[in-house]
Symmetry: C2
């Protein structure tokens, strides 16, 4: 398994494009993306658990009910959520794909991201479709990625090559997400493509299992978005025998999928709104995975801890505080905490109590841009990893006047 170029166009059969169509006023910012496959794909998705859902979520669910899809259309600049005619607009977007590509509207995945509760005009999309389709190409992943960004400051694209059934396969993806990031049984906007041949059922199984340890373990601000969606299209063009059950090939695919999703998770956390640091908490020594996951996620979600990390302050009391209120069944007297980064590692707490440590060394470690918080629970052999970022002045600034 190795990382390759190409994003959503790395897998055989896929093209992509991204343009500025006019949903956003700023003409230098792309706002409409399209991904298409040259054949009908097995498809699977997971969605936000927020009761307030974007209209595109409902339409996509409907279109994916047969386990197949062939295209993804997504706009930024307006979430098409809490609008009276939201579903009508989402359906119109699918119909526009059919009109301009011949792909059936019912085989289109539709998504929107941006401000909630703002009336949405479909005219710019209508006007932009011709150019969007004409620009579809094998190197279009980056343009599509740029078109789905909102407050994101960096592109989030990756692809991986792996082997299944003796055939070379690829899986790649693009993602957006910076604020309103606290996925729960779902994720932000993530579009993945692969050329492995796999049944829709096994594809859904792989995705549903994967998000538990990938996107559901990311938090920027504790706010679960209304428009979260992760979808994957599998073209089957790798030529392997179709994966239809558990086994070696399914395991290879899951490993490649996890490589891609974990990579994107780290990018999303690193690019959290206003963030200066990626926080990766590894909780180990738990009785079971769930306990480790609850602990790791509680630590990277704590506002107080996130602010301490911004200040490079080795305030490990806040790590223990966050573990204590997490709801996880832990033995406080067995908890150990270390901080680590490129600059080294330092133990700050052992058996639930502080240990003498060099504040100077701790400051040096915590001044790096990627920090690992290592929590040992001293009870079992399970571990979990969660990703987050520091809480900074800029988070407040960005969200103090997001709409204006």
């Amino acid at each position: 398994m190795k990382i390759i170029e190409g994003g959503v166009c790395a897998a055989k059969g896929f093209k992509a494009s991204g343009i500025h169509c006019g949903i956003r006023k700023n003409k230098s910012k792309k706002d409409l993306a399209l991904i298409v496959c040259d054949k009908l794909c097995a498809a699977a998705a997971v969605y936000t658990t927020n009761l307030v859902k974007g209209a595109p979520i409902y339409v996509t669910k409907e279109n994916l009910s047969d386990g197949h899809a062939q295209a993804v259309i997504c706009n930024s600049g307006n979430a098409n959520t809490c609008n009276a005619n939201g579903e009508e607009i989402a359906r119109k977007m699918c119909a526009l794909v059919e009109k301009h590509t011949g792909i059936k509207a019912s085989d289109v995945i539709v998504a929107s991201t941006g401000v909630i509760g703002q009336p949405m005009d479909v005219t710019p999309i209508e006007n932009g479709m011709e150019s969007l389709v004409s620009e579809l190409n094998l190197n279009g992943s980056r343009a599509a990625n740029q078109a789905i960004m909102t407050t994101d400051t960096m592109e989030k694209e990756v692809a991986v090559e792996f082997t299944a059934g003796g055939k070379k396969c690829s899986i790649g993806g693009i993602a957006k997400g910076s604020g309103m990031i606290h996925p729960n049984m779902a994720t932000m906007l993530v579009f993945l493509t692969t050329d492995i041949a796999i049944t829709p059922e096994m594809l859904q199984k792989a995705v549903s299992q994967d998000v538990k340890t990938s996107f559901n373990m990311v938090s920027v601000d504790g706010d679960t978005s209304t428009n979260d969606m992760l979808c994957v299209l599998a073209s089957g063009e790798a030529g392997n025998e179709t994966v239809a059950s558990d086994g070696e090939d399914f395991a290879s695919f899951k490993a490649a999928l996890n490589k891609v999703t974990t990579y994107l998770c780290r990018l999303i956390a690193k690019d959290g709104e206003g963030a200066t640091k990626l926080l990766e908490c590894v909780a180990s020594g738990a009785d079971n995975y769930e306990t480790a996951a609850i602990v790791a996620k509680s630590v990277i979600t704590s506002s107080l801890f996130k602010a301490a990390m911004f200040g490079a302050d080795a305030n490990w009391g806040r790590v223990l505080c966050a573990i204590g209120y997490s709801g996880a069944d832990v033995d406080v007297k067995k908890i150990g905490v270390s901080f680590a980064s490129q600059a080294g590692s330092i133990e700050v707490c052992k058996n639930g109590e502080g240990v003498d440590f060099s504040e100077e060394k701790a400051k040096e470690i915590l001044s790096e841009s990627e920090i690992r918080i290592l929590v040992s629970l001293g009870r079992g052999k399970y571990s979990a990893t969660a990703w987050g970022c520091d809480l900074t002045y800029d988070y407040v600034k960005i969200n103090g006047d997001y709409r204006t």
Copy 2:
């Protein structure tokens, strides 16, 4: 029922004092408080649900197991939490009260607040006891309040006069709390005194019921402290027939208690770390109280919504988002949202969708220092109120280098 002066000294029998003893380096900041009664009181308390608990919590629980107490000692500057000899220090503090006042150590409530996981030296307390006891007086509530403050910027004191069994009674209290505020079945540090005659059982019942609608409905940053504690001492000196069961007198006491706790809740939210605005969310029209409470608390806990309020941005989509992920059973299509303040009120969402509103008027309303968010759920007759504050640059600043 009316609000009166005196704080914890308003009720008959109580004296208080607060001094600088040297736990803090800054000599102008008091760091040790004492409240004593001239007789043994019925006493009740609720504590943090955080698994990581301050050592004083364990000692106080033990001392209150017989339902009685006569004094409260509390230091700021060190939370005495995650220390190897924490309980030893807490017991020593109780013993020092016995030595200097004659009140039995087992009748002392002990509390600490400040940095977690910092070794604590009891010497400054030992040296300060004589002066702390000699300064006990009927106007000492304010000094005691000042001595328990950490990042608090305002004092939090109130008292109320009410009638029970034909006798004039009083209840008053002091509180501290600014960050690490997200009480859960417990609270920050709140010390209440009353002169009503009441059994320990009924006192505990009143307090346990009250915190559900008062302190458990406050959040500053989602972090449940390790040292939360609310305790109340009842001297019985009002001379009423001892309240030993439900009835009119118990109801009068509960109303007075709620007046005091709600007042302090608002002060704690208003004084949230870095806050410029008090947010009060009233969720109404729910099928039951729990649903209304979950909705109201989710709104005032959302980092995105709090940042929008800092920017006076009427971004109601974030209110709907926070309701949607709260876990409450609501009908999105029936939700209405209005913002209100001294400058007026404005409807921004009806039936789950945006309504046309004046952005200018909304800005004016949201620029006030106390904002009410009125959420109607359109299903039933229950409502709940939660208190929080905006998320500001200063919250990040305060917590970026709390220890240094």
